[in-house]
Each structure stands twice: as structure tokens, then as C-alpha cells.
């Protein structure tokens, strides 16, 4: 189904629920991994994913179609993930920077992390990157999105994204070699 058609159905009160089911099937996996790469812990990703879809369901009538639907959803997911992490930091009485280290320190004991030493190091290296580079690296490297898709989602030029990714990879390589 074309995106425009899906949006029309979602904004039609009589067809909204049916369309929401389609939307959920289409985007749950992609959005989950997008969120998981932010928050790292499965349970947290689950919470955020549910909140994102609830927000989409409740606010779909406000979607004007000025951007792509999945771009809009990715933005909601990114914002929700950042808000979630900030709240978590506040609860633990630590800074928004410290929360990243806290999560990574606990990642090894997470039952849903089966990474080896190099994968853990990679996560630590990603956490050291500026936020935009983290986002671009995760989307390109783990989610395997094309630059063109990323350009639509992040509303950034393909050239800028390539540059971001290139810098991110270089920094990660340096980190992995030195640690």
C-alpha cells in the first residue's frame, strides 16, 4: 500500500484501526531497532516503542503530510528515546552524559545482549560519538538504511550524511585500536 493511501486511511475515523494494524506490521521492527540502538536495553526499547505507536495513533490527525510518514515516525521515535534516557538519568540522579556509561556498564549482564568483547567495545565507541554521528552510524551500519532514505528521515543532505558516517567510522576505528 502506498504511503499516501495509508495516511488517508489512518485519518479516516472509520478505517483508522484497520490502517493502524497495517502501519504496526510495516514499521514495528524498523522502529524497534532504531529505538534499541538509542536505549540499548530491550525492556526500555519495548516501553519506548509502545509509546511511539500510541503517540502516532493519537496524533495521526495532526500529520499534515509535509514530510514522509516514516520520517515523522522516526522523528517521534528519536525524540521519545532521548526523552526516555533523560528521564532515566534524572531518576538515577546522574547527568545525561553519565547515563550512557551507566547503560553500557550494565550491558554485559543484560540477558538480551549476546555480544562479545569487540561488540561491547563497539557500543562504547558509538556512545563516545556526537549525537548526530551516533544516529547516522546506527542507521547506516546496523539498520542498513540507504543514504537516500536516511536523507528523507533526518532531513539532511546525502553529502552531509556520508561525511557524518565517514567521521563516525574513523573515530570508532581509532577507539577500537586504542582500547
Amino acid at each position: 500500500m502506498e504511503e499516501e493511501e495509508l495516511v488517508q486511511l489512518l485519518q479516516n475515523p472509520k478505517r483508522k484501526d484497520e490502517a493502524f494494524g497495517i502501519l504496526l506490521k510495516e514499521y514495528k521492527v524498523r522502529l524497534y531497532w532504531h529505538i534499541r540502538n538509542f536505549v540499548k536495553v530491550h525492556e526500555d526499547a519495548d516501553d519506548v516503542l509502545q509509546n511511539v505507536f500510541i503517540k502516532v495513533y493519537r496524533n495521526i490527525h495532526k500529520f499534515k503530510g509535509e514530510s514522509k510518514l516514516y520520517s515523522w515516525m522516526y522523528r517521534i521515535a528519536s525524540n521519545e528515546s532521548i526523552t526516555f534516557l533523560n528521564k532515566k538519568a534524572k531518576k538515577l540522579n546522574i547527568s545525561n552524559e553519565e547515563i550512557k556509561d551507566y547503560i553500557l556498564d550494565n550491558l554485559q549482564s543484560d540477558v538480551y545482549f549476546e555480544g562479545d568483547e569487540i561488540q561491547l567495545k563497539l557500543q562504547k565507541a558509538i556512545a563516545k560519538l556526537p549525537e548526530k554521528q551516533q544516529l547516522v552510524f546506527n542507521m547506516k551500519y546496523f539498520q542498513d538504511l540507504k543514504y537516500k532514505e536516511m536523507s528523507i528521515i533526518l532531513e539532511t543532505s546525502v553529502g552531509a550524511l556520508k561525511s557524518n558516517y565517514h567521521h563516525a567510522v574513523k573515530k570508532i576505528e581509532v577507539y577500537l585500536k586504542n582500547n
Binding site: 504496526l24 540502538n37 540499548k40 519495548d46 555480544g115
Partner: protein, 176 residues
Amino acid sequence: MEFKDKINKNQTGFITPKAYFEGFESRLFQKLSEQNTTPNSILPETSGLEIPEAYFNTVEKAIFERTINQKKTKVVSLWYYKIAKVAAILLLIITGYGILQTTYKTNQQTDRFSTVSEEDLEIYIENNILPYSEMRNLFMEEGEFEIADNAINELDNEVILRYLDNELDDLDLLDE
């Protein structure tokens, strides 16, 4: 083809898996494209982040419960919330109005009080407010008078004078 296979088989004894060469091209291209997208072999290909089995089926149900199904089951309670909301707003308006009225009246009374002259107040106190002893009597029971009178009568005059001598700084006050 048969000839080559025969030669290989006979000469070296090595054999290939069945249909190995048929899928070779596609496997080779896949590997090449993977190598092109993988920036450097130092980086692991996966993140190591896992998910529980069948998670994406359960999350779908959970989201339905919190969106579509929640809406359906709470239809009855919605009108109740609407009424409660209206009632709460009305209560706030009434309470607010009451507070405003009371404040207004108090202000009016305060204003009236501030316009009364000092002289009028003195006249009012003289004519209307009972002396302290009489006011105190209003709140004392009949029996209490007797107890108080008896207690004073039982005291020795000398004791009273000694008490007054010690406790009062200015004995001239007694003469007033």
C-alpha cells in the same frame, strides 16, 4: 564437462559439493557487495543486541491493548469522566467565586474599620466593652467564684504583703 570432472576426480581425488558452481556467481557478488558496505574488518557486523523470542507478535498485541482496544472498552466510562470534568470545573468556579466574594466583603469591612475615628472607638469601648474582671466573670461558673474567694480569705495578710513586696517592682501601683 564430463571430461573435466573425470580428469579432476581421477587426478587429485578432490570433489566439489553438488551444484557448487551453479550458485557460485551469486554468492560471489553477495560477498563483494557485503565487503563494499562493510567499512572495515575491524568492526563487528552485528551489535550483539538480542530480543526475546516472538517479541514482535506480543508487542503488537500490547500496542493494540493500549490504543484500539482501550478505546473500545472505555466507551462507557468516557461520559462519566466528561461529567466529572464538568463538575470539577463548576466546583472550581463556585469556590473561586466564593473566595472572591469573601475577600471582597473582608476588604469592605476592613475599609469601614479604617475610616472609624480614634475618638469614636474610645467611646465605643467605654460604653460597650465590659471591664476585664466583669468579662472574666462571664466565663466563670458559679462554684469557681467561691473557690477563688475562699482561697484569698484563707491567706494570711502577712503572706500577701510579702508576696507583693517581692513580686511588684513599683508598690506605688497599688495606690492607684
